[in-house]
Assembly symmetry: C2
């Protein structure tokens, strides 16, 4: 590892995993390490906690803003574990000179998402730093809640033959941020940024539900790689079943990005027993956020630890964990 | 209020209270508002949560560093409510180019304080932002734990005649940061930055214990003003009983600061029934952090809502809530 922290270590890929490991190993008895690296930790009974920092640039984007994103991003980490988001804390670091109206717009967006979730702001903190010491504002949200899933969910439940279902078309958040950052036409594309709990809750009663994950930093590709590694199984997806929004595809073509690694903030990957595929898809499609839910692949016993993609042309390619940075500060 | 956020709004005084109020009012049913503005919130039974951001500059100072401070600062907010710090989350925003060794030093300091407390890191998050987007690193710590106090503590328990006890000499953290910032001789002074739980836990069995608060941003003066306002009682302290470290006094003289408003990070104000004063002082003095504990004043029925100080010369002055900024980024 280099002596200086690099931007790529914030991307959500391999370098981020290494950075996080170098931090965690200093703490004794870290519960977060048990059971691989899921996005939230059960601290006591079925009470779970997760924390997330938000530095997205720009702070306002079509489909959301940093306040909206902060509540969705943090609570989605609970939702995918079958945990109802009930309380959250909001820490704000604000640059001197930030327009007050802008701060309050962000705060109101956060409050609106709390209302959607029926979650309560339990604690908050504000720090103001001198002009130049932080770029506008950074938020931190810690979210808490009780699991309501009748059975635990996690990567260790994955079985060969499981269906891999995507709740919506991926990569829209990353593509919108990229378009804004590089001054590209986004063709009406909006971020998919959304609170996933209302979409995912109806899946929890499915007996064959195994594991869910929101495809944030590092995108769908990274989630698949983490699942393959943690479960010691193969993940096989089919390019033909992966529907990207035309603008996501266009923005990626221009910038040379692989859309598999572009962040979504309102899209979940779901694994369930094959017999439940139809049920899961039907329940997802009943909710506006899941209208485009699709079966995209299968968990396999072969190619343990690897992710493969059948291409449209009938070939096959390995989907690797990205090492460094595609697009900084998407969340 | 001005259209732009000002540095003074981060000071912990009146402007911070206004900023926080403007944020909180957007959230429905915020538990944090119940029972005034204590530093942590009970979310369920005796489970409490608090959150705190850390932007201290410089990050390393005699007596501590930002990692040490982050764990102490957040968990002290629990300790003063009689809550044992059990779990915490650590969110890190890191500037590209920060020396890795420096980050790991901060992380190890945080881990060491977790060990002192027997607290577990439950969740973490890292974000890396481009060079210039944040100054070095900012931490956020959310801390959780169960109250072990046999009776609730809070400003609403304050009664006329209660003793006001200070656990150590105040203002050392703020004075050290000020000395470093302005290039002054600190005469061997170290920050008082410390985890207060081990010091305060033995007080919890005292029947007459009313209320405790750590004297962070805004210092002892701000805590006294908040208590007076929230309880609708007077607070009377005696200058003669307030022992400032000679270097704190000297640094304040040079800079024109009032040491009453300088931050401490390991000093608690404690109110208890007058009959328990001796017991409380004895228990505090048994711990190294409380060796210099002292009775500094009394809660009064007169002068409701105001803080008065009897001066050494026999006069009397009002201690006002500070409006704006004394020293930015002390925590």
């Amino acid at each position: 590892m280099s002596e200086l922290i690099s931007l790529g270590e914030g991307s959500g890929g391999r370098l981020t995993a290494d950075l996080v490991a170098s931090v965690i190993k200093n703490f004794a008895a870290c519960d977060g390490q048990k059971g691989g690296c899921e996005d939230c930790t059960f601290i006591e009974g079925n009470l779970a906690v997760t924390t997330d920092g938000f530095t997205v640039s720009p702070r306002f984007f079509p489909g959301g803003d940093m306040g909206h994103l902060a509540v969705c991003g943090a609570t989605n980490d609970l939702a995918v574990r079958g945990v109802r988001p009930q309380w959250l804390t909001l820490g704000m670091i604000i640059e001197e000179g930030l327009p007050r109206a802008e701060l309050l717009r962000l705060v109101r967006s956060a409050a609106r998402q709390c209302e959607v979730l029926g979650a309560t702001l339990a604690a908050g903190d504000t720090k103001v730093v001198p002009h130049g010491a932080c770029e506008g504002a950074f938020f931190n949200v810690t979210a808490l809640g009780h699991a309501v899933t009748p059975r635990p969910l996690g990567m260790n439940r994955l079985r060969p033959g499981d269906a891999l279902i995507l709740s919506t078309t991926p990569g829209r958040h990353g593509a919108v941020i990229a378009a804004l950052r590089y001054g590209l036409d986004r063709g009406g594309l909006e971020s998919d940024c959304a609170a996933l709990w209302p979409l995912l809750e109806p899946l929890l009663s499915l007996e064959g539900l195994r594991c869910m994950r929101d495809c944030t930093r590092g995108g769908l590709g990274t989630v698949l790689c983490e699942w393959a590694e943690a479960a010691g199984l193969g993940m096989e997806i089919e390019e033909e079943r992966l529907a990207f929004h035309p603008s996501v595809a266009a923005i990626c073509d221009i910038l040379g990005f692989d859309p598999l690694y572009l962040a979504s903030e309102g899209c979940a990957l779901i694994a369930c027993a094959p017999a439940e595929t139809g049920n899961a898809l039907a329940r997802l499609r009943r909710h506006p956020l899941g209208r485009d839910a699709a079966l995209i692949g299968t968990v396999t016993a072969e190619h343990a630890g690897l992710v493969g993609m059948k291409t449209r042309l009938g070939g096959s390619r390995i989907v690797d964990m990205p090492v460094g940075e595609i697009l900084p500060r998407i969340c």
